[in-house]
């Protein structure tokens, strides 16, 4: 059917085309630029809604474009890509709203910013919808290129330095991933994503080569997923404007790496085959180490965004941990955390941006009394932070619960130790922030309070974190409802473990 063949491409184009138009718009066409941004985002949400409905009802959406030699560019919607696409679509909509307000007074070119912003989201959508490794790779590299201008947007020596570090890490990772994909193509000829994996038949011929390819792929993807010791770029990239950090940490870069690892483990190698090759145990160790290391480092950061960055290092590895434990329950825990971590972390970054923008608060030590001055933002921040710690009934609790029981079911009780340790550390670095915000008196002289009846900050800065905080709450409370992230993760796990 015509529509089914082109829907994935149309979803991609709803941000790609506005992005290209935005580049050539003059700076002062604010209305048109905003219209294009929000129009594209809205249309994308509608199309994603149609796609989600269709995927549940057995439609197959696949766009094949013959634009590469001996290989097609494939965009398709399986259960996993539908979930990532939905996450990107929703969070992009909110982040765009936020970014419009946040950058209103920025002296740098806003056309350039929003142009790259749209391209960045298009790359993320492309990654989510990619139907084979080469398509994934193309969008993965495009993501690197389109986020660089966002990271260095301010053009200060600091941000240029962060940009150089970012490029050095990600281009290196991209090269490792490229050689792995080309090698796999040379060995087995096919690089398509297949539910349950596609390499098991080659175990006798190529076991050693496949192990190397796996390691190269994880190394290449691990750079973006910020696996220790490949995480160095992430805390530096904090100099980017708040909406960029929010997007980078929640759906774009870091998530692309984690999603890629999930894809490689489940849909290229297959979880059972990965276990057979003995690849899961080392991956689990790396993930566990990253979880603890990130949390410990977060403890010692006074700069709020840096603390959040190290928290991301730690939290994203929950996803990797879920992917490295054999068994459907752990799989559900890992995959659902793709969504949950995105919702919670974007909330935290939005709020951190609000504190910085409205009150000039950048450090944890300056947070005293912020809650009384900006109760709504602080409430959203509190929800996000408690979710990260894993307090029921928030989203983070669901992830941790499934990971823990999954670890037990797989006969790996040490997972629980890691999770408990990490949750305690999460509490240790988030609770002081919450305590200062709500229960300490403000020590500094802040800008004057807004008049009575006025919101605590620009409404476009306030609405997005409130919505994402609410979603993080609902994802936990309504975890069993249809279309909830958990329900969707169960659907994916069921397909991955089909005989």
């Amino acid at each position: 059917m015509f529509f089914d063949d082109w829907l994935p491409l149309m979803i991609l184009l709803t941000s790609l085309l506005p992005g290209i138009v935005i580049f050539v718009l003059p700076e002062d066409r604010i209305r048109l630029r905003t219209g294009l941004n929000m129009g594209g985002a809205t249309l994308k949400l509608v199309l994603i809604g149609v796609m989600l409905w269709g995927v549940r009802h057995g439609h197959v959406y696949e766009t094949r474009l013959s634009i590469l030699p001996n290989m097609d560019l494939i965009l398709n919607a399986d259960a996993m890509s539908a979930m990532m696409t939905a996450l990107s679509g929703i969070l992009w909509f909110l982040t765009t709203l936020y970014a419009i307000a946040y950058l209103e007074t920025s002296p740098q070119s806003r056309s350039r910013f929003f142009g790259f912003f749209s391209l960045c989201v298009s790359s993320t959508i492309g990654i989510a919808l990619a139907g084979n490794l080469i398509t994934f790779l193309m969008f993965y590299e495009m993501l690197t290129l389109t986020t660089y201008p966002l990271v260095v947007h301010r053009g200060t020596p600091d941000s240029m330095r962060a940009g150089r570090i970012y490029i050095a890490y990600t281009i290196g990772g991209g090269a490792a991933f490229l050689v792995a994909v080309a090698w796999l193509k040379a060995l087995v000829g096919s690089v398509a994503f297949t539910e349950g994996g596609m390499l098991a038949p080659f175990v006798d011929t190529y076991a050693t080569q496949l192990r190397f390819i796996f390691m190269l792929m994880i190394a290449g993807l691990g750079v973006k997923a910020a696996l220790v010791p490949l995480h160095g770029w992430l805390p530096n990239a904090m100099v980017a404007p708040a909406p960029v950090s929010a997007l980078l940490h929640a759906v774009a870069v870091v998530k692309a790496g984690a999603f890629g690892i999930v894809r490689v483990v489940y849909d290229v190698f297959g979880i059972e085959f990965s276990a057979e090759l003995g690849l899961l145990q080392p991956l689990a160790v790396v993930a566990a180490f990253t979880i603890v290391y990130g949390s410990v480092r977060a403890l010692f950061q006074d700069e709020l965004k840096k603390r959040l960055a190290f928290s991301t290092v730690s939290q994203v590895s929950y996803i990797v941990l879920g992917a490295s434990i054999l068994g459907p329950v752990a799989t559900i825990g890992g995959i659902v955390h793709l969504v949950h971590q995105g919702l919670m972390k974007i909330t935290l970054f939005f709020c951190a941006g609000n504190f910085a923008e409205t009150l000039g608060v950048h450090h944890v030590s300056q947070m005293n009394g912020v809650g009384r001055r900006m109760p709504w933002s602080m409430a959203a921040f509190t929800l996000g932070a408690l979710g990260m710690i894993g307090v029921p009934p928030l989203a983070g609790f669901i992830s941790k619960w499934y990971l823990a029981t999954g670890g037990l079911a797989a006969g790996q009780p040490w997972v629980i130790v890691i999770l408990v340790a990490s949750s305690l550390l999460n509490a240790a670095y988030f609770l002081p922030v919450i305590y200062r915000g709500w229960f300490q008196d403000a020590a500094e002289s802040w800008p004057d309070k807004p008049a009575a009846g006025m919101p605590e900050t620009h409404w476009m800065l306030l609405i997005p974190p409130l919505i994402t905080a609410l979603l993080a709450l609902l994802a936990g409370v309504l975890a069993d409802a249809p279309f909830s992230p958990l329900e969707w993760a169960r659907l994916i796990a069921a397909r991955e473990y089909q005989p």
């Binding site: 495009m142 240029m160 090269a175």
Partner: protein, 485 residues
């Protein structure tokens, strides 16, 4: 006589060669019409080449004896997929350079010499890509070299005359070496026709000497390491449109001849050791060129050394294609490299030229925030940079992907390391410039305004390099028409 006879498939190649030649003659006779004649030629030649491409796609190789004389006496022209792709590339870059130069030279007195020389160069290139005999190839090579050297000498910078002189010597020595090879082949085979020589079959004692002489001359003119020494000063000090044409087109001319000879006459004689020797030189070119680009103080020097490195990539075509399992893939990758490098490098040189035009220098350390002043040019630079590094979506990526496939299917993993390592080095030198160009300064960056046509021609070429990343099946179909390899 109807139009079809007049402009039919069999006369098209002759038109494509003579049109720029006539225009060049006009430019000499009547200096005032140099510019309009060039613009007209650019459009007309493009139309003819598109038509020729259509014919080659439909009928395969087209051959033509100019004046009706048979081979060995007359001028034999032939067009297959390979020639058509090179001609299209020349039209694209040539057209953009022509429009750019129209803005660049304006009423400058250098324009009087520029237009006829540029049209001569274009005619020589067209003839080179269409020649089917080794002596005519020599003539076109010589014409190409001489017009290129004269164009470099047009520059007013103090570094240009010695650079041009060195270029002239290298060019003459290179052609001479090639000519001696031609003489040997003629003495042994009694013909100059490429196909006849190839058909004459293997094992004549003089053929390896001929190969060595011709290859040495052509490698020198293509600036493969360690024969690259003349290229950076010549390319970096020429006027902007000339730099673009030299890096994008002229070095590809001699490379094309080597490729042709390799594919026809010399194929049975080439042993893997020869291919690997070229591979080693290519490896040094990639590493050395990139390191020099990293160290360069001037932007145009950086770009010129990048050409040295990229030429190394192009020459990898020989070792990679020497294994039968990967021959097709390697040739496709190499040709894709030639095409996308042409677009990207021309765009980069034009963009760098805009900087020089605007602020009067190209010292990298003084170019902070130049993107605020020349956003379109710097965007073009960035897009072309993507292709030079070989990131998707771009022609450079497709080429690299094909190369990797060729290397990995035949187990030559060491080339993989080189290809990727070179990519990382090019990232370093490209971003070294970006981190200055895209930094933000509140000081106003001064300089004279750049005509819009100069900014947008650079941009269009850069876009072409990117679009080549999305059109691979069509382009590959075109250059395999008539089965040149």
């Amino acid at each position: 006589m109807n139009l079809n006879d007049f402009l039919g498939p069999l006369t098209l190649p002759a038109w494509i060669v003579s049109l720029p030649l006539v225009a060049a003659g006009l430019g000499v006779a009547l200096p005032k019409i140099g510019r309009p004649a060039a613009v007209f030629t650019a459009f007309a030649t493009s139309l003819l080449v598109v038509r020729l491409a259509g014919e080659v796609l439909r009928h395969g190789t087209i051959q033509l004896q100019v004046g009706g004389w048979p081979a060995t006496l007359g001028i034999a022209l032939q067009a297959d997929g390979l020639s058509v792709v090179m001609l299209s590339m020349t039209c694209l870059i040539g057209g953009a350079v022509t429009l750019y130069a129209a803005g660049y030279f304006g009423a400058d007195s250098a324009a009087i010499s520029f237009w006829p020389l540029w049209l001569f160069l274009w005619a020589a290139l067209n003839a080179l890509f269409l020649s089917g005999d080794i002596f005519n190839l020599y003539v076109t090579l010589e014409l190409l070299g001489l017009s290129a050297v004269s164009l470099v000498a047009l520059s007013r910078s103090a570094e240009a005359p010695p650079a041009a002189m060195r270029y002239l010597l290298v060019s003459l020595i290179g052609s001479l070496s090639y000519l001696m090879g031609v003489a040997l082949l003629y003495a042994a085979g009694g013909t100059l026709d490429l196909n006849a020589l190839a058909a004459a079959g293997p094992h004549r004692p003089s053929i390896s000497a001929a190969f060595a002489l011709m290859a040495a001359g052509l490698v020198m003119k293509s600036a493969l390491f360690p024969m690259h020494f003349w290229l950076p000063p010549a390319h970096a000090n020429a006027p902007a449109p000339v730099s673009a044409a030299l890096s994008a087109l002229v070095v590809k001319g001699s490379f094309y001849i080597l490729m042709r000879l390799w594919l026809t006459i010399f194929e049975p004689f080439i042993n893997p050791a020869t291919a690997d020797l070229i591979g080693v030189m290519a490896a040094f070119a990639i590493v050395w060129g990139s390191i020099q680009a990293l160290l360069a103080q001037r932007l145009k020097m950086l770009v010129a050394y990048s050409t040295v490195a990229q030429i190394g990539y192009i020459f990898l075509i020989f070792p990679l294609s020497s294994m039968p399992a990967a021959t097709q893939t390697a040739w496709q990758g190499g040709l894709y490299f030639v095409f996308s490098h042409a677009c990207a490098k021309a765009a980069v040189f034009l963009a760098a030229g805009n900087i020089v035009y605007s602020v009067g220098h190209d010292r990298i350390s003084e170019l902070n925030g130049i993107a605020q002043r020349l956003p379109v040019s710097m965007f073009a630079f960035a897009l072309a940079g993507v292709s030079l590094i070989g990131l998707p979506p771009s022609g450079g990526f497709v080429a690299k992907w094909l190369y990797l496939n060729a290397a990995l299917t035949t187990g030559q993993w060491w080339w993989t390391v080189l290809i990727l390592g070179g990519g990382l080095l090019s990232t370093a030198y490209v971003f070294r410039f970006f981190s200055r160009a895209f930094s933000y300064t509140t000081e106003t960056v001064g300089g004279r305004p750049v005509p819009w046509i100069m900014e947008w021609t650079a941009f269009v070429l850069a876009m072409c390099a990117v679009i080549l990343g999305l059109t691979a099946p069509a382009v590959i179909k075109l250059f395999t028409a008539g089965q040149p390899f």
